[in-house]
């Protein structure tokens, strides 16, 4: 029974230590990741309409609509981590031993385990050869350690022993990145908020719809958008002020933020993300003149306000735009939808345009001709808000990964042994990386030694 249990545990351990599993998981992750790039994630209604009923049911059952957070994808990631940890636990001690306790003597048994072995007949006594080889290795390879064993001399030299640990640095870095990602998902959030110009907010809305208190307030002083001559957008700029208890925070007043240049306060970062016209508080400019002539009267009307016109009529602007072209193809310039109420009459809705279209404007308004001169429009700025306490951990992991990869790739732990016995000189060599390349340099080393 106990042996059986141990057998199972053993098998499980071997399973998680196996590199077959690693390759299976890597290829598996690569293949399954494709699904999420083909099926829309967090699908829009229009997209769902293109799918059949069965497909929708199947996809949601399999979690394909939020694939990268589905239980099975996360499971693959955990398996990868487990595989990584088990492999490291299994191999690290052995590797550490190679690094810290090198094999100084190449005996017959060890020689058989090496792929690069060369027997040489060199002239000279053993002691001479020992000196010669030691200086040769020092010049051509690395400083050698000499061991005397019986009647034989053994030399051992190595290069880049620490690069053996590079692989473990890489693997460790992956675990660090996962930790950073978990920290971010447990203690951080992603949210968004819209702030009208002049407005202030102290709460933002998380992606899942939760309201989050910032603990301070952010005011949007101004928003502006600039365009290139081609009509392509050039810059979206919000000017923000952080306030606490109603007071602006020193150093956080009138800070301009643009795309690619956010504002961070107390670990919470605000990113320029979108914008729009704010209806609140827009100011409309009208001019009113009598049909019979006379100087026009200028009038400023606020959004939703009922303004009195000469002669007792009332007017309200319901909607306005800087450019009517998208709505009225033959016209351009500013335009407004108004509700006009003649003195004692019924409200009449109509559209008024700029000075340029006076004939159009004259179609309505009774005794008056009303012109729309434009508006001081207010924008709202749309900000992404993010707090991610794990991000530094992620960057640390990324840094270690790059360092580790360079250690693992661009350095090879190369070892050369020489045995000087009555039978002659035997050279042996091995490298942790790139056996083909080492074979060539080992051959080169042998040729050089022969020529000496």
């Amino acid at each position: 029974m106990t042996t059986n249990k141990r057998g199972v545990a053993h098998k499980l351990w071997d399973f998680f230590c196996s590199l077959k599993l690693t390759i299976f998981l890597l290829i598996g992750l690569a293949l399954t990741s494709i699904i999420g790039t083909i099926i829309q994630q967090g699908p829009q209604r229009e997209y769902l309409a293109t799918l059949s009923e069965t497909k929708i049911r199947l996809y949601s059952a399999l979690g394909f609509f939020d694939m990268y957070h589905s239980w099975w994808f996360i499971l693959l990631l955990y398996l990868l981590t487990l595989n990584l940890i088990c492999c490291s636990i299994k191999r690290l001690p052995r590797v550490w031993k190679i690094v810290s306790e090198p094999v100084l003597v190449m005996d017959e048994g060890f020689e058989k385990s090496l792929t690069n072995v060369k027997e040489l007949k060199l002239a000279g006594s053993k002691a001479e050869l020992k000196e010669k080889l030691a200086s040769f290795l020092k010049a051509e390879f690395a400083q050698a350690v000499v061991t005397e064993k019986g009647s034989e001399y053994h030399l051992f030299a190595q290069k880049n022993r620490l690069c053996r640990l590079g692989v473990y640095v890489v693997h460790f870095s992956i675990i660090i990145i996962f930790i950073g990602a978990l920290l971010g998902s447990f203690f951080g959030y992603k949210a968004y908020v819209n702030i009208p110009e002049g407005g202030s907010v102290s709460q933002v809305q998380s992606r899942s719809g939760r309201a989050i208190d910032l603990g301070f307030a952010v005011r949007c002083e101004k928003f502006s958008v600039a365009f290139y001559d081609t009509g392509a957008p050039k810059e979206f700029r919000s000017v923000l002020t952080v306030t606490e208890n109603g007071q602006p925070v020193k150093g956080y007043q009138n800070i301009p933020i643009i795309v690619n240049d956010p504002l961070t306060y107390k670990g919470i970062t605000f990113y320029q993300s979108s914008y729009g016209q704010s209806d609140e508080g827009a100011l409309y400019h009208l001019s009113v003149r009598d049909r019979k002539g006379g100087a026009p009267i200028k009038l400023d009307v606020r959004q939703g306000e009922r303004a009195k016109l000469p002669g007792g009529a009332l007017i309200t602007v319901t909607e306005a735009t800087q450019n009517v072209r998208p709505f009225m193809r033959e016209f351009d310039g500013p335009g407004a939808q108004v509700e006009f109420t003649p003195a004692g009459g019924q409200p009449q809705p109509f559209v008024i345009l700029s000075e340029k279209y006076q004939a159009f404007n004259a179609q309505h308004g009774g005794d008056l001709v009303i012109t729309f001169d434009g508006m001081d429009q207010k924008f709202y700025t749309g900000l992404q808000v993010a707090k991610d306490p794990g991000v530094l951990v992620v960057w640390l992991g990324c840094f270690l990964m790059v360092v580790g990869i360079c250690m693992a790739f661009f350095m090879s732990h190369q070892r050369v042994w020489a045995r000087i016995s009555d039978a002659g000189v035997t050279l042996g060599g091995s490298a942790s990386k790139n056996p083909t390349g080492f074979e060539m340099s080992f051959e080169e080393l042998v040729q050089k030694l022969k020529k000496q």
Partner: protein, 282 residues
């Protein structure tokens, strides 16, 4: 002189280089092989000048930015990086025949860019106005280019392997005699991927850093990000399979070709077939 003219010269130089390499395989003359390398080097220098000139032209238009911002510019830059990596490997190892399998990638890129793509210099939209664009694009494309070189080498490997298996004697003549040996090709494949993998890793990391800087999420599973991760997984599998299970030779060569196919899909396929944040040349 305009950058566009210089790009034409570049394209012709790569075409000439490809032809010379072909002549080299047929003639087996060392001098011809060297001429092929020099033609590629000439094209590379002209292309470098052309990219610099295009950069300057964007300043003349009043909105200067590095020429890495639309599909045309990225294809041109991709072919530049392919030749760069190729030249490094060529000068280091001097296996001229490799040129015949790698320079055509760059030639194809230039021809496509010059003949088929919109080449106007456009001002940068707000999302691209960042130095991260440069770090990100340069590292990614150097990585892609190394994979392109690895793919060319793997194709040579597969050809040679097939012909040798078919009983043909490599040393007995034919085009094959100018190929490096199977062992060397296998080694070169690994070396090219060893250059590419860290660069791709850096490319993904700089991309993540940029995304975090620009909108507060370093990873959002956007199709381009995901595909770059897929490519990364494939090459990671290549590396593990190779060192630990002795997947050298034919299977490694096939995995390298598959990896490059995934790379190309990541670069172009995602833009053409899928939608997301990284859309060039809409």
């Amino acid at each position: 002189m305009s950058s566009s003219m210089l790009f034409n010269v570049t394209m012709i130089a790569y075409m000439v280089s490809t032809c010379i390499f072909f002549a080299f395989l047929a003639s087996r003359s060392k001098a011809v092989g060297l001429a092929g390398t020099y033609a590629a080097l000439f094209g590379f220098l002209v292309q470098t000048a052309a990219i610099g000139l295009r950069w300057k032209e964007s300043y003349d238009q009043g909105h200067g930015h590095a020429p890495l911002s639309n599909l045309f510019e990225s294809v041109v830059f991709f072919s530049w990086t392919i030749i760069l990596i190729y030249l490094i490997i060529d000068f280091k190892y001097k296996y001229r025949a490799v040129g015949f399998f790698v320079v055509p990638f760059a030639l194809f890129g230039m021809a496509w860019a010059q003949l088929g793509l919109e080449s106007g210099i456009e001002p940068l939209v707000p999302a691209l106005q960042s130095n991260w664009l440069m770090y990100h694009v340069i590292t990614c494309f150097l990585g892609y280019a190394a994979f392109a070189v690895a793919c060319g080498i793997s194709i040579m490997y597969l050809l040679r392997d097939k012909l040798e298996q078919g009983g043909g004697n490599a040393t007995a003549g034919g085009v094959l005699s100018m190929f490096p040996s199977i062992k060397i090709l296998d080694d070169l494949n690994y070396k090219a991927i060893m250059i590419g993998f860290p660069l791709l890793t850096l490319g993904i990391v700089t991309g993540a850093a940029w995304a975090n800087y620009a909108w507060g999420t370093y990873w959002s599973w956007d199709p381009k990000e995901t595909w770059s991760l897929i490519v990364w997984f494939v090459y990671a599998a290549f590396l593990h399979a190779r060192i630990t299970r002795g997947w050298v030779g034919r299977r490694a060569a096939i995995l390298s070709v598959v990896g490059f196919a995934a790379t190309i899909f990541c670069y172009l396929g995602v833009n053409l077939f899928l939608s997301g944040l990284h859309s060039y040349g809409k």
